[in-house]
Every structure is written in structure tokens, then in C-alpha cells.
Amino acid sequence: MTRKKTYVADIERELYDQRNPFTYSHKTDKGLTPEIIREISAQKNEPEWMLEFRLRSLETYYQLDLPPWGPNLIELDIDNIVTYVKPIVDRQYSWEDIPDDIKQTFDLLGIPKAEHEFLAGVGAQYDSEVVYHSIQESVAKEGVVYLDMETAVHEYEDLIKEYFMSLVTPRDHKFAALHGAVWSGGSFVYIPAGVKVEIPLQSYFRSNAPGAGQFEHTLIIVEPGSYLHFIEGCSAPRYSVNNLHAGCVELFVREGSTLRYSTIENWSRNMFNLNTKRALVERDGAIEWVSGSFGSKVSMLYPMSILQGERARAEFTGVTFAGGGQILDTGAKVVHAAPHTTSTINTKSISKGGGTAIYRGLIKVTKNAYHSKSTVSCESLILDNESISDTIPVMQIDTDQVDLGHEAKIGRISDEAIFYLMTRGIDEEEARAMIVRGFVEPISKELPLEYAVEMNNLVKLELEGTIG
């Protein structure tokens, strides 16, 4: 079965809901105890320091409260989430060796073809464990390291020890602490100095067991003068038990480097997506976030950029689409901590069918961040009067030499615009879809073609209400 391309025919939602009867080699007990943590660490054969780190994080987890703001997380019964599931296969480096049913799942998501055409390598996560991983020769030759996190802990121990959860620490909030204790899977990427990676690196995630959590950790270090585009795309089938995703992404952008981090999040409708993403940018460095948030039951997602060096730059372009029964609480945070730094935030949100879309943002300019400039633009489209859209931005400035502009708009699709399109022969539903696609175009044009097409299709599916 091959993935249908979306610009010719519609993609069916069922493709995303492929479910295999699961036969896993190992499954931890429900409930979070130090014993379970030890079990996880032992399974991965981890060095002592990582086990200690996990145990300290677990302690922190029990000390911290849930955040007092944001969507209600009471429904999430964390102690009943089975955190770690390892499939029967061990890690593979070649596609041919993978068992058929697992292969089928990835076939549906189009990975093999994509690998040949687009990508340098694929790290695909299957239920908390990296199943398949390969790096194209040309990229490996330049010294680019692209490994799953577990292997990296062994092969690049010093680097991992120094960087792991140094940017997002377990003390930051309860789900960061949880992540520190039970993290599993994810990618480690290291780009040596002066290397510009031509082709985007990409990874996929899946959660396939009822009640399984997703705690993958992405750690990317881009040394000075380099370039990388990393794509994170997610998909998960729907289940009756609440699913949790508490991943963590730490990005270190060194002097003069640029990192572009693109994501389409398309979690199934019962997922709690509480993801923490943070980038630290040094002088003359740049972080470009491109983000499309769809799916999940509740999302709390605020990629944060810390502009630590002079002339560092952060750009955030994002779209959030909340349908019925969804609360997508997303935003962007930028801290200007050095002079001559710039940030641009451009977000669009759409709420429909009773969905709630919330933009929660922050621009913070510290005392020494003189001559900083920031432009924020948030636009919200509410498609009917059952839905909700809230914009909650905060601007904190501690210096005078700053140029900060923020604007936000909320409204609906204008009847006049729909009429105009209809007088050109386009039916009402298609006219609406055109306007909404036009609305999110600034984001889709930043994504690689496959993703842009996937995103447009998601928008179409969401508008039709065939999802949820």
C-alpha cells in the first residue's frame, strides 16, 4: 500500500489510524516508582550517572505541582500510563530486516520513498524505542552524527552528560521532571563546525499501545558556522485511554549557525501533548521554528528561544487548528538576553466546531538587550460561534533601546470574501477552504513540499469535519 499523494486525491484519515495488534517484549507496570525507573535504565544498559539523573528527576516530579494556568489536566492520570514499551525487534539499520507489520505502518506513512527522494536519514520511533535508523553516507562523511538517543548516551557519553537537560531542566516544570525520569528514544544530532547539511533530517514518532506515553528526547548541537533543517512530524492512532506525550527538545545553536526546526503535530484526538522545546542561540546564530499544530485532545506547546549572543535571531511561524473537543494552548516565547537581537513571531490560529485555540506568548527583553527588535503578529480565525479563541501575550521590557511591536486580530471569514469567490464558480465549502488555506499560507510555504501538502490536507480534513 502506498501513500496517496494529496494534491490529486484526498488522503483518507484511516491511513493515519493504522493499528497493529501489539505483541511487545516488555511492558512496565502501571504507576511510577523508583523500581520502574531502574528497570527502564537497566533495559537500556545505561551508565550510572544517567540512572542517578533519572532518579533525581523522579523526586523532583513528586515535589512539583501542576501549573495553575492553562487547560485542565486533571483527566490525565499519570500513574496509569505505561511509560515504556519495547517492541520485539531490536534496532535496525537496513529497511529489509524489519518485520512486515512494522514495515507496513511506516510504508503507510511514506517513509521509504521519502528516504530516497528527500532525506539524509530517518530516525523513526516505534513505541518508545527507535526501530529503524539509517544515515546516508554523504552526510556521515562530513562528520554529522545522527543517532538515536540511547546509542548516543553510550557513544557520546561526555557530550550527552554535558548537554542533556541542561537547557530544559527537570526543575522547570512537572512534565520536564517526568521526562527526565522516564525519557526514552529520540534523536541526537551533532553538526560539526562549518558543515551545511543540504537535505533536511527528519524523524517520526508513533504511539501504538493503549495508555503508552511518549517521552522521546531530541538533542541537537549545531557547531559554529553550520546549517541544519530538522523536521519532526508526528502521527498516532486514536484510543479510548488517554495518551500522554511529554517530549523534550533541546537545541543549541552556536555562533553564526542557523537551525530550522519544522514540526507538524498531528496527534490522535485522545492525546495530551505537553511538549517542551527550547533553543539557546549564540551570537550571530539563528533559530527558525515552523510549526503546525493539529490533533491531540489537549496541547500545551510554547517553543522558547533564548537569544544569548549578540545579533542572535529567532523566527517563529506557526499555525494551530483546534476542532471540536480540542484545546490547543500554544504559543512562542522569546527572551532577548543580548544586544542587537531580533525576533519575529507570526502565528495563525483557527478554531472550529467548539474547539478552543489559545495563543500564549512572551517577549522578554532584559536590561542588557539594548537595540533589540521584536515584531509579533497573531491572527485568529473563528469559524463558527461555538468555538473560542483567546490571545494572551505578555511583553516585558527592562530597557529603553528596544523596538517592539505587537498586533493581534480576531475575526471570522468575511461573507463578502466568500461571495466573491462563489461568483467565480467556487462552491461555498471550497471557498471557505481556499480562504483558510490562504490564511495559513505563510506557514505552509515555509515547510518542505511534502509537509506543506500534508498540512493543506489536514486543514481540508479539519474543515470538512471528517476528523474528530
Binding site: P393, V394, R412
Partner: protein, 367 residues
Amino acid sequence: MANKITQGLNVLPRISYRWLKVNELNFEEAVAMPLKPYNLDFLPPNVDPGLTLRKMEPGFGDQNPISTPFGVSRELVELGETNCNGGFNLLIREGTKLAEPLYFKYLFNEENDTVIDHNIIRAEKDSAVTIVVEYRADGDQPAYHNGVTKIFADQGAQVTLIKIQRLNDQSLHLDSHYIDANPYSNVRYLQVELGSNFAITNYLANLKENATATVDGMYLGDGERTLDLSYQMIHRGYRSTSDILVKGALKDRSRKIFRGTLDFRRGAHLSTGNEEESVLLLDPTVKSDAVPLLLSEEDDIQGGHAASAGKVDPDQLFYLMTRGLSEQEATQTVVKASFQPIIDELPSELRRNIQDDIKRRLVAENV
């Protein structure tokens, strides 16, 4: 006798990340608000027959209690209602349109250093009135002010409320406003904040169908002063219109937080709301926070906000300097120009004093 004030002032309708500490204002040490009489005259001298004007009685109970929580804090609103030593109860009868503004002036001195005023303004159908309230404290003696003002504007009524605060730098100014804008009414609020160590104000308007509520505010922060200005426009009825425009300038080590909320509730279709906040930052030691919230559960509305902060435009400065002004004079000119649209709305008698205050504060220390 004194009332202690500490925490939970100007709480945001939707809170943000805890670590930013913007969700509310808390005093590190409790501040005491004295409770004592105010013996100076503040009422306007003559009263039009179309009005009923009386000094406010402490503990005066409204026939229609206000169900929406409002004010700098619930405690402060209650304090204003039960222990007021000033304030007025004003009724403007149906069809009465006052040509001249009504002036209420509170002067503070050593014996009369506390004003707790509870004001109720009821504007009946198709009436029109302009009310000016001024709080002034010269010298060094700290002044304490806690005000609670409620405006009930009936169908077609036009009410303009102008508040001018010129208390010295040792003073405490707390001011809560509640507006009930009934269909086709128009309530304007002009706010001038030019003093106090802490100026903490709160404004909330409930807009019914076809009502209009606007805020034009200006402030100048200097020295060690702090301003916390909160505004909430709640659109409940269809075709309601709101507009918030606040302009300010900050210098020395002053700080300000602007909290503006446009809230469109279900049923407020065809409503429009606009919020604009801009501040000129005149020294590297100032702090400026802004939280412009835009909330909506109704699709057929138009809501927008714009917030900007920055130094005086160097091109503007350059232009003025090529016409012979020093940098200092040019900066003052630009700051005063940004306030001019609001100053022009004020009755002419008041403009001089305000312009003098601005000039005095801009010149002190630096700038």
C-alpha cells in the same frame, strides 16, 4: 484605624506563566490605608435642576448590585463602599443634557490626607453629562486615595468621565471603575495619571447591544514610580463597540504594567473592539510590561490590538534638531506631542496644569 492592602491587585482575567509575575500585583510589605474623615469641599458649586446630586453616604447599597467582579481588588471595592469619606451620588434625569462639565476637586493636605470616594453616576435615557474629578496633592505629605466609581448609562445616554490624578510622589492611588453601558449609550473615560508612588487603576465595562465604551488614557512615569493600569471591555450585546487607547512615557527607574482585555462573549455578534497601547521609553532603567488580552467565543466580531514600545524615533528627533531644538527639547516636544490628542479632549481650564506637570517631570533628573 487603617486597612491593610497587600496582595492580589489587578488580577488578570486569564493568567500567564507563573515565573513572569505579571498575573497580579503584590506589595512586598503591607501598605496601610488610613480611615479618617475628609473635611474639605469637593462638590461643584451650582447644580442644574435636571440633576440630583448628593454627597455619598458610607455603606450606601445599590438597588442593583453588580454581579461582575470588578475593581483593583474585591477588598478595596468593599472598603470604598463601606468606609467612604467622600464621593457623590449623581442622577441625571431623562433628556437632561448638561452643557458645562461638573467639577469635583479633592485637595489633600496634612489633616486631610485620605480620600476614599464612592461615586455612583446614573444617566437616564438620552441624557448627556461630562464629569471631571481631580485628585491633587502638592508637597511631600503622602496622600492616600481609594476610589470606586460606578456609571450606569441608560439607553442613549452619553457620559464622559475625566479623571486627573496629580498626587505627589509619596502617595498611593487606587481607583476602580465599573461601567454599565446599556443599549445605544456612549461612555467615554479619559484618564490622566501624572503622580503617585503607586498608581493602580482598574476599569471594567459591560457593553450591551449597540453600546459604545471608550478609554483614552495617558500617563507619565518618572523617578521610582509604579503604574499598574488595567482595562476590561466585555462585549455582551451585539453591535457593541469598544476602543482603548493608552499612551505613556517612562523615565528614570519607573515601571508600568498595562493590562488590556477585549472579551467578546457569545451573542456579541457584529461587535468591534480595538485596543492600542504605546509607550515611549526614555531611559535604560525603566521597566515596561504589557499584557493585551484578546478573548473571544463569538465568531462574527472584529477584535484587534496593537502594542508598541520604544525610544523616541531618531528621525523625528533629528528633524526637530535641524530646526534648532536641543536633543532634550526635541525629546520633550515629541513626548508632549504624543499626549496632545488626549489633552485636547480635556476642558481648557485643566490643560495648563497638566502641561506644566508634564514639563516639570520631564525636566527633572534628566531628559
